[in-house]
Amino acid sequence: MIGLGLHDVVVRYPGLDAPAVDRVSVDVAPGEVLALLGPSGCGKSSLLRAVAGLEPLASGSVTWDGVSVADVPVHRRGFGLVFQDGQLFTHRDVLGNVAYGLRGSGQARVSELLELVGLAGYERRAVATLSGGERQRVALARALAPSPRLLLLDEPLSALDRSLRERLAVDLRAVLVATGTTAVLVTHDQDEAFAVADRVAVIAAGVLLQVASPPDLWRRPASREVARFLGYEAFVPASSAAAAPLRDLVPPGSGSVLALAEGAFVVDPVAPVAKGTVVGITSRRGRSEVRVDVPGIGPVTALGPVGARWAAGDVVGLGVDGDAVAALD
């Protein structure tokens, strides 16, 4: 196998019965970005640390290009790691941090990387004077500097505010693609995983549930658990009467249960295919999100127009959006 290979990886912590990571197998091809997606405490960070060599494997193996790295110490694996809070060296300036992993002075390489992450000219800044976003950019540049054969990113954007996070996610993807870096990204944020990764691995309670590209994952979640984590909020048997307007949106025979994500229903007073009773309204990026109770399905979130005004108890007509409906077995 070329690239990173995980084979039945198990990580245990002393004193805990349940393994933190339970027989996970997944491969990452060269140049590919894999996201490990899961709720906090699901074991995804433990898995990442095991790959880095910071946690011992209870069993299983981690390979690179088919060769086990079990005997290779952390610093010789060539696996870079970016922490959630950067872990910059406060006793070194930006240059000192980025150049840390380089052999020789590498001044030019540092400048190149700083430019890449949008911090050109920051060489002599003390890290204490940097903002959170700048720190993570330095951490990224520092991790990329020695050209790691694999870059591990442990919730690299989670400590940042939302707009910065979304912007940096795009930048991160761009940098990874530009440098052709093979990477594993740990995140609990589905949007971040989808924005950055080529493939997404969903993990819960230490077990790998599904690995797929973002569109495949979205369209064909392997289980309710995966679907729920991706944001599917309601499940209805394909054969039920209430599922009638939705059945045609998925390929025929693709599954016995339909999963509805937020926005599977759209408020459509003109050509409604179903009706629901309004429970409440919130707003997201200007558009209304209407909580409606659809008979036979239950409460779901339907998208509404900007500035919609309904009171609880109003009955509204609903259309459907095929991209928010998936079929499950």
């Binding site: 002393p14 880095a52 060599g53 910071l54 011992p56 690179w64 290009d65 060769v67 790295v69 005997d71 290779v72 110490p73 952390v74 610093h75 010789r76 694996r77 060539g78 696996f79 870079g80 790691l81 922490f83 872990q87 060296f89 406060t90 006793h91 300036d93 840390y100 992993g101 052999r103 190149e112 990387l113 430019e115 890449l116 992450v117 949008g118 050109a120 003390a126 204490a128 004077t129 950019r137 951490a139 520092r142 991790a143 500097a145 020695p146 050209s147 790691p148 054969r149 591990l152 930048d171 761009a174 940098v175 693609v177 530009a178 440098t179 052709g180 870096t181």
Partner: protein
């Protein structure tokens, strides 16, 4: 970010998958040496002499005789001195901590004019020879003296006051060094959660400081439990401690059996205290968020800073400042008394005693200035030794092995190197006589060669270095080291570029502490047979014991010289702490 135009560099930089054993071997060797060198040092220059001395008391005519225990423990006096030892050390330690923590805040967390001077000033008592402090203290307290109205002369209170006087600096420096770099945001978060300044301090800052406090408290306890001159001068034998009793039994009665039993008792008490402190420490000691002192140290003002609301902790800061000011004044009383008396010539005043410091008249074998040079030279050697040994110990002890056995071994090593502070200087000094005659068949008599003086001082200074450097090393976030490792840094390089680089920032403090301790060391030094080039404290002791006309005044003047010298060196080391710029520590 700029346009992603960067090309992937040649993959040659990526290391091969095979481990390179050779370099790991080098590091393994380093750790072997890091553990072995201090152990050999301690074993040779502490354990061996102590065991040699104690076993003299238990081995009678070649066979083991433990009847001394029954004998010594059947004396009511034994129980009284054990009780007094624990009482004095516990009370003095408690007071030193209660006063020292506000002192650490004011002297390390706040910025104000003259701070550096006061920091050096509070360190002075720590290095003054006990006999000098005894005189300075007693002449204050004696009836008719400036504080005679307190009727404290010869009381337990006087002893405890003197013990606090000696060891206040230990708490201030130990706690202050940590506090200075404690990230203030945790406390700020607590404030934002509705905690009053006092509650935020109690529930957030204080727990974070606990390792440093426990560390300092255990040092103070050891110093107090082995205080010797202070107790004798200020309280006499009715307040005798285990240490004074060992001294009496060894030097006056040559009752080695009783001395050995008492030495064992002392070890047990000290061991118990150390394990207690170790537990308090390890419960709390973990990666602390440290920040640059520049961001966490704020100016101290008497009036509330404009724009700060009332009840925002200003009162608390003022209270701490008030307590500290009072303590500093109290610390100054004996010191000022010392200076005043050193200027007292006959019925008038003058610098005559200082002028006489260069002379060797009246049967003095060397002048005070010569002794000062000897002291500086000895302390320098002792400091280097203590830094190397103590630094290695701190490095080893700061590791967090995964295995339980490993963790226990590390904790044991930590406690082991504290022991020299808790074992009687008499036992060590006499033990040297028994063990250092041609050690290992080497054709040298180390006992009289003079090399033991800096070594004995280093043995005492090592724990100070460990206690100063260790909290900083332990507070380093392990992920910082992991980050370095994932960047390709070998464990050796992580050690150098993270652990050592960060620890170096506390090295000034450690150097100052170790140097001061060596400079003022008198206990172990005075029981060593040594060639005729006395250190300053020894010379002062000789001068003060001479009935000659001006020798007493000269002793006081020489003490002032010692105090000024110490303060100067400590102040210089403080400056050493902040090398370079860039807003770092």
């Amino acid at each position: 970010m700029s346009a992603p135009t960067l090309t992937r560099p040649a993959p040659a930089a990526a290391p091969s998958g095979a481990p390179v054993r050779g370099r790991r071997g080098g590091l393994a060797w380093f750790w072997v040496v890091a553990v072995a060198l201090p152990l050999v040092f301690l074993g040779l220059f502490f354990a061996w002499p102590v065991v040699a001395m104690i076993s003299r008391g238990f081995v009678v005519d070649g066979s083991l005789d433990l009847s001394g225990f029954a004998d010594v423990f059947s004396r009511p006096r034994t129980w009284r001195i054990v009780g007094l030892t624990i009482l004095q050390a516990t009370v003095a330690t408690t007071i030193a901590v209660l006063l020292g923590v506000p002192g650490a805040y004011v002297l390390y967390r706040r910025r104000w004019r003259g701070r550096a001077f006061v920091r050096a000033l509070v360190t002075v008592p720590f290095v003054l020879p006990t006999v000098v402090v005894g005189v300075a203290f007693r002449s204050l307290l004696v009836s008719g003296g400036p504080l005679g109205f307190l009727h404290l002369d010869g009381t337990l209170v006087a002893i405890i006051a003197a013990l606090v006087f000696f060891d206040y600096a230990v708490v201030v420096r130990g706690v202050g060094g940590m506090w200075e770099r404690l990230d203030p945001r945790a406390e700020q978060a607590a404030r934002a959660l509705g905690a009053s300044p006092w509650r935020a301090f109690r529930t957030v800052t204080l727990p974070a400081l606990t390792p440093a406090i426990a560390s300092s408290a255990s040092l103070v306890f050891l110093f107090c439990a082995t205080a010797f001159g202070t107790v004798l001068v200020l309280g006499g034998l009715q307040f005798g401690t285990i240490e004074t009793e060992i001294w009496v039994q060894t030097t006056q009665f040559l009752d080695l059996r009783a001395a050995a039993v008492l030495s064992v008792v002392q070890l047990v008490i000290v061991g118990a205290a150390l394990s207690l402190a170790g537990r308090a420490r390890s419960r709390r000691e973990r990666a602390l968020a440290l920040s640059s002192s520049a961001s966490s140290v704020r100016p101290l003002t008497l009036r509330r800073a404009p724009g700060t609301p009332p009840r925002d902790g200003h009162g608390l800061a003022l209270a701490a400042a008030g307590v500290t000011a009072l303590v500093v004044v109290l610390l100054c009383l004996p010191l000022v008394n010392l200076v005043v008396r050193s200027l007292h010539v006959g019925d008038g005043w003058g610098l005559d005693h200082y002028a006489a410091l260069g002379s060797t008249s009246g049967g003095m074998t060397v002048s005070v200035w010569t002794a000062t040079l000897t002291s500086l030279r000895t302390a320098l050697v002792a400091t280097v030794l203590a830094l190397v040994v103590g630094g290695l110990v701190a490095l080893v002890v700061s590791r967090r092995p995964r295995a339980v056995a490993g963790r226990r071994a590390v904790a044991g090593l930590d406690a082991l190197f504290m022991l020299p502070l808790g074992v009687s200087a008499v036992t060590v000094g006499f033990g040297f006589l028994l063990s250092m005659h041609e050690p290992f068949g080497l054709p040298i008599d180390l006992r009289t060669s003079g090399v033991l003086v800096p070594i004995a001082q280093a043995v005492v200074a090592v724990p100070l270095v460990v206690r100063t450097v260790l909290p900083v090393l332990r507070a380093i976030d392990p992920r910082l080291k992991q980050a370095a490792a994932t960047l390709g840094a070998s464990p050796g390089r992580v050690l150098r570029s993270v652990d050592l680089a960060l620890a170096t920032r506390s090295i000034g403090l450690a150097v100052g502490f170790a140097f001061a301790a060596s400079l003022g060391e008198f206990g172990a030094t005075s029981f060593l047979a040594r060639p005729d080039d006395p250190t300053l404290p020894v010379l002062i002791f000789r001068l003060i014991g001479r009935p000659g006309p001006d020798s007493y005044g000269m002793a006081l003047a020489a003490s002032v010289v010692l105090a000024v010298l110490t303060a100067g060196i400590v102040a210089a080391c403080e400056r050493l702490r902040a090398p370079g710029s860039g807003g770092d520590w």
